[in-house]
Amino acid sequence: MIEGRDLTKIFSPDSTGKNRIIAVDNVNIRIEAGETLTLVGESGCGKSTLSRLLLLLIPPTRGEIFFEGQALKGLKGKELHSIRKKIQIEPQQPESSLNPRWKIAYSICEPFRIHPDLLRGRQIEEELKRLIGLVGLEPEQAARYPHQLSGGELQRAVIARAIALEPAFLICDEPTSMLDVSTQASIIHLLKTLQKDLRCALLFITHDQGLAHAIGDRTAVMFAGQIVEEGRGVLDRPYHPFTRRITSISDSGSLQPSEPQGKKIPGSCVYYQFCPKKTEKCLHSPEMMEYEDRRVRCHNFSSA
């Protein structure tokens, strides 16, 4: 469905090439129609940059993106325009992704104004009604401005906008991290129902392992720009030292936070400074290795 091959994104804040930031580092990612991949990792590990690459908002420094079998490299203008409508995002903070001066209904209909060839006049109004009902908002709420709705209601409005064009691929960037648990549960239910109806691929970015567990078919764990482990049941049976670390924390806070040891060594494994099991081999960054249903990026792991 959607696939990224060897995706790399390097930001160079200045023209000298110093202070380069490798935000996404050689990432291979593939999500099938109807499937949910959850992406977990720390703040700053590159989750959002990866999602921006897949949304075609920024071009990769290296690597390619394939959408429904088609390579997107070199596509321009019209072709890209028609592919974009199939890829949508559900952001973390709905309040900042809605225009505060627009009524909710006007925001939800924006996709139809960007793609005017799809629906017209009356049809748009009917589609709006359908969308509002689908996400569980009252028509009266759609006539309000963003500041008059709660966080959960805004998130529903943004979902309505995201699914207006029936996307084939939807990225959810921590859509519930600011919501309380009950609202979170109802938003997740809504997303899962819609995904089933639309048969869309879902990339769900989250910090919450419980949530990742509950909704993902597969989980990918990201550290310092790389996917270090990916597969089914990753959080139940973690192989990579970083995944082991984050799954053993379990909110209890009994462990002292880890701090990097020594300086970063160029070319070493991204987890080298933190890894309790590092060996000499780890001075060379490991390749992604496949073991049955699991991919792991670590020298010191064998499936045995």
Binding site: G44, M178, A185, S186, A214, G253, S254
Partner: protein
């Protein structure tokens, strides 16, 4: 008992109606305990926290008693409050990005409560701030102390706020949503810090809707709904078997318990008609719930605001 809240009401007049953010809260907070106040957005938990600090906005009406070592905080003058706020009772606000002054170095902001309350000597303040930064793991402190907030990550800002909160050696620390929107590593760091503070004997009041976060270290849980406390329990008892239907709903909506949302009520459920406020969303609602139940005490110190637990009824 370090804080004793009795019949606290905080109401906000808004055009034609009144928002009852805190509507009759009674709670005792023991010295050195860790109390978690949980509840959904808009349940009044942050306003309750602000009331303890005397930081409520001017457009609200406050009634009731908040006794701190015997003094009613609500009747103290602003000068008297200044002696307590930040020094004895401190606040860690939510939204670390918005809570910091962008044009002041982090070090100066952390040092502000010290210079107001404890120490005027700048060298000594700086030394103290460096220690605090080290304590909250913002390292190396010497390189970070003169940085501005924009150069800190969200987790670092959150930890700086904790440093600021404890810089005046408070007896009570009120933390509002200290884990909201931060990643698991930062969350672990914050949990660790709060645990250390707890072991040092600081009374912690943690306002949150992050249930897994408080599951492992709060002593007691107070559940707020629509401006009222609906359940107060020991932490273990609460997570083993919550009493109030709303508390049960909260636990059932956790991902590990199947993500079952609490049914949403209709708009008029917000209205205060004198009945139980959770009634329209409650699957156990009975005729009697048209009259609001009192907070029914249990022998073990728990209390729950629900007719299902009214034992007098069974006797009669």
């Amino acid at each position: 008992m370090i804080l004793d809240v009795q019949q606290l009401y905080v109401h906000f007049p808004v055009s034609s109606t009144v928002i009852r953010a805190v509507d009759g809260v009674d709670i005792n907070i023991e010295q050195s305990e860790t109390l978690a106040i949980i509840g959904e957005s808009g349940s009044g938990k942050s306003v309750l926290g602000l009331a303890l600090l005397g930081l409520l906005p001017a457009n609200c009406t406050v009634n009731g008693v908040i006794r701190y070592h015997g003094n009613n905080l609500l009747t103290l003058s602003e000068n008297e409050l200044e002696m307590i706020r930040g020094r004895k009772i401190a606040w860690v606000p939510q939204n670390p990005t918005g809570a910091m002054n962008p044009s002041m170095t982090v070090g100066n902001q952390i040092g502000e409560p010290i210079s107001l309350h404890i120490e005027k000597n700048k060298t000594k303040i700086r030394k103290k701030v460096l220690e605090l930064l080290q304590f909250v793991r913002i390292i190396p402190p010497e390189e970070r102390i003169d940085s501005y907030p924009y150069s800190f990550s969200g987790g670092m800002l959150q930890r700086s706020l904790v440093a600021m909160g404890i810089s005046g050696h408070p007896e009570v620390l009120v933390a509002d949503e200290p884990t909201k929107g931060i990643d698991i590593m930062n969350k672990q760091a914050i949990t660790y810090l709060l645990r250390v503070l707890r072991e040092e004997g600081i009374t912690l009041i943690i306002i949150t809707h992050d249930l897994p976060f408080v599951q492992n270290f709060a002593d007691r849980i107070a559940v707020m709904y629509s401006g009222r406390i609906v359940e107060i329990r020991g932490r273990q008892e609460f997570f083993d078997g919550p009493l109030h239907p709303y508390s049960r709903g909260l636990l059932r909506s956790l991902p590990e318990n199947g993500l079952h949302p609490i049914p949403s009520g209709t708009e008029d459920s917000e209205e205060n008609d004198g009945g139980c406020r959770f009634r329209v969303r409650c699957t156990f609602a009975i005729e009697r719930c048209r009259i609001e139940p009192p907070l029914i005490p249990f022998p073990d110190g728990s209390a729950v605001r629900c007719w299902l637990y009214d034992r007098r009824e069974k006797v009669a």
